[in-house]
Symmetry: C3
Subunit: 299 residues, 3 copies
């Protein structure tokens, strides 16, 4: 996996700031960003993300296709955020399904190559992109459903937890969880808050202390995912589930979602800079001394 | 149901302020208010509420009998609050069972006729009464048990959640939940807080976003009710359960209950006026554009 | 049990302040404190606590052996706190198992003889020791596992809830819970907070209002304990479980544990004096008018 991640890194262009790109649609990002065309069904593809938008249903499907394991690199996070923002601004898009095109993995989580051996500036930029991804997804006005069709450790688990509903493949080789402590890393407070909001305080305390990766059955039991279906049915079940959510008037649902999540979002929004500084400081102190194991489900 | 609600409306006298009535026992309300007589067993009946108080056990049973579906109108809420306040002040009354005399329904929730086409002043008065009902029940010093012998959507679910224990009829045609979003309405923060305190953050988030109405079995599973019994046994089970609660010294139990609920109560108490203004504003902006479906359990 | 507690009291030397002893290792306490010797496996015994420390594994086992029921008296709490502090400061000690050497009981909870008929000063000193025990255990950097090999009411339940993991004997005669209200007492806010963190708001509300003592099976169901094993296997299972926890890098685990518990700890730390005053005041008003029943599991 390390080799693959290195290969992945080599293709990464120099990015000069996620936030400026997100607001200005800078050149490098704009080239890769998916274009949403106003026709009945459109499919747009960046290097690492493919978005299918069915305008008749108002539902988009975001396929993550960043080989080999959809690691959340600065580049990939930028793509994801731009794609999400475009969908968010398109009033005809009411629902979003997030899934993976890579075999056996939903997302392997944060790209360790963006956390090691880079400048403090790069490190800060990377962490802002992680925050941005979380803020955009957790605060999305769209109905968001995670079609978790493979393993989903660490940041991959976080991404799925930002969604309104999680459907996971019932393959016992897959696992999901915030396993940071196993890597000698501490999950930041907003990872923790998101998990507490999902499975409660006690389950979070044990999961985070032990860095637990749950099998699909265990994840369902503690409420980390909402539903298990056969591997082949994850995406279709997500689409069917979306229909149920689309029946709810958007305005009331959006206000309700915001009421539930705003305190948690405000907490990070008020502490972004301190959180970035904290990440950079720990990174350069060499705290993160271990690397993730295989997450492909073959173990 | 609409016709019945209209009929219900025609009989409603002009009320000039819930709070002043609650403190002054104004004329209209006083006529209907249940009189508690200091004898072994007393039964007192207002137009819409019948209170049976057994002084030997210290337990009162409040039967809601506002046809057809115990909608929480300004008038009915006023009756309920006055009855509750009288019981609260009677030191010999230690426990209260709340149940319905109407077939198939516990309470259909807030009366939409008090939310539509009325003056802002009426609207504000109505909302203050909803707040008052919640504050009185959620903060009651008495042991409160909801004998949920029928469907209990929206405000009906809220009322049951204010109690210390919920027993529901196991009839699968009945349902319970805060289904506001399905009606295009947003449950206010204190409805949400009450539900979070009952079933936790995640179950509340999904329930409120989707406006879910749960079958008795589902409600038991997520903890929205505590016990299911046959329809014929709801009230007797409530009485038996009360015996167990009565064995606990009042003072310690009341202080403990207050410790658990005070932060949630203080939050509304500190924001009553803003919450009223918010309700009135949304009401006159026509946000509430849909009406509840049938809640009688026949659907 | 009362006679036994009285006997227990007679042996109690005059202590002149828990906190000063904890910092200064005053004479009476120091004599009883377990001595940790830097050898492969050491066993040290105070009058009421036996600590076995296996330096090769980095795991200590604290056996509570204060006849008859490990009541948490001022004296015993002092011993426990001193033993814990010594282990905490020994960097080679990474994990702690807490268990009982007394038959049928883990700990009967706070010693009522330290709450009744004593001077306000003694009362305050006693309560500070209870706070200290909770602060030290709930905030421990070590992995703490409760091997609950008997009944564990009130303060005994609190002690077990401060640990990271709870294994209980599956003997249906044993019970566990915060049963304060049954004794006419109110569990203080930090007992409540600890329970909310363990089993959630709703289960805590009902448990505390009714002073519920749960059978092992019930305790497992609501999450008050994490695992049930045969009585003979409690300690060995605790040791095996510890191995799993020891695999996690200490630094990341400790920071994670602190992130989860700090808000709750800070709340008591900021209100210790008011909490002591509150306890003393209620005590001398004679609020605590009932005594605990038998907790030996024979009932």
């Amino acid at each position: 996996m390390k080799m693959a991640l290195r290969a992945c890194l080599r293709t990464k262009p120099g990015l000069t700031g996620l936030l400026s790109q997100l607001s200005c649609s800078g050149h490098a990002a704009a080239r890769r960003a998916p274009a949403l065309v106003a026709q009945r069904s459109s499919s747009s593809t960046s290097q690492k993300i493919k978005v299918d938008f069915d305008q008749s249903s108002g539902v988009a499907v975001m396929h993550m296709q960043s080989p080999p394991v959809n690691s959340l690199s600065l580049e990939f996070l930028t793509d994801v955020c731009i794609a999400l923002e475009k969908l968010e601004m398109d009033k005809s898009c009411r629902g979003l399904v997030v899934t993976s095109s890579q075999p056996k993995v939903f997302s392997a989580g944060l790209d360790i190559l963006d956390m090691y051996g880079k400048s403090p500036e790069h490190c800060a930029e990377f962490w802002k992109a992680v925050q941005e991804m979380w803020l955009k997804f957790y605060g999305s006005n769209m109905i968001t459903i995670a079609a978790v069709n493979g393993s989903s450790p660490a940041g991959g688990c976080l991404l799925s937890m930002t969604c309104d509903y999680r459907i996971m493949a019932d393959n016992p080789r897959y696992s999901i969880g915030l396993n940071e402590t196993k890597l000698g890393i501490v999950a930041p407070f907003w990872f923790k808050d998101t998990m507490v909001n999902t499975v409660g305080h006690r389950a979070t305390e044990m999961a985070l202390q032990l860095g637990l990766l749950y099998s699909p059955a265990e994840a369902l039991k503690i409420g980390l995912v909402d539903q298990l279906v056969h591997e082949d049915q994850v995406l279709t079940t997500a689409t069917e589930t979306m229909t149920k959510w689309l029946a709810i008037p958007d305005h009331a649902r959006q206000l309700t979602k915001s009421m539930m999540r705003k305190p948690t979002i405000d907490k990070l929004a008020a502490n972004r800079e301190a959180d970035v500084n904290n990440f950079v400081k720990f990174h350069h102190q060499g705290l993160y001394s271990e690397v993730p194991g295989d997450v492909s489900g073959d173990a």
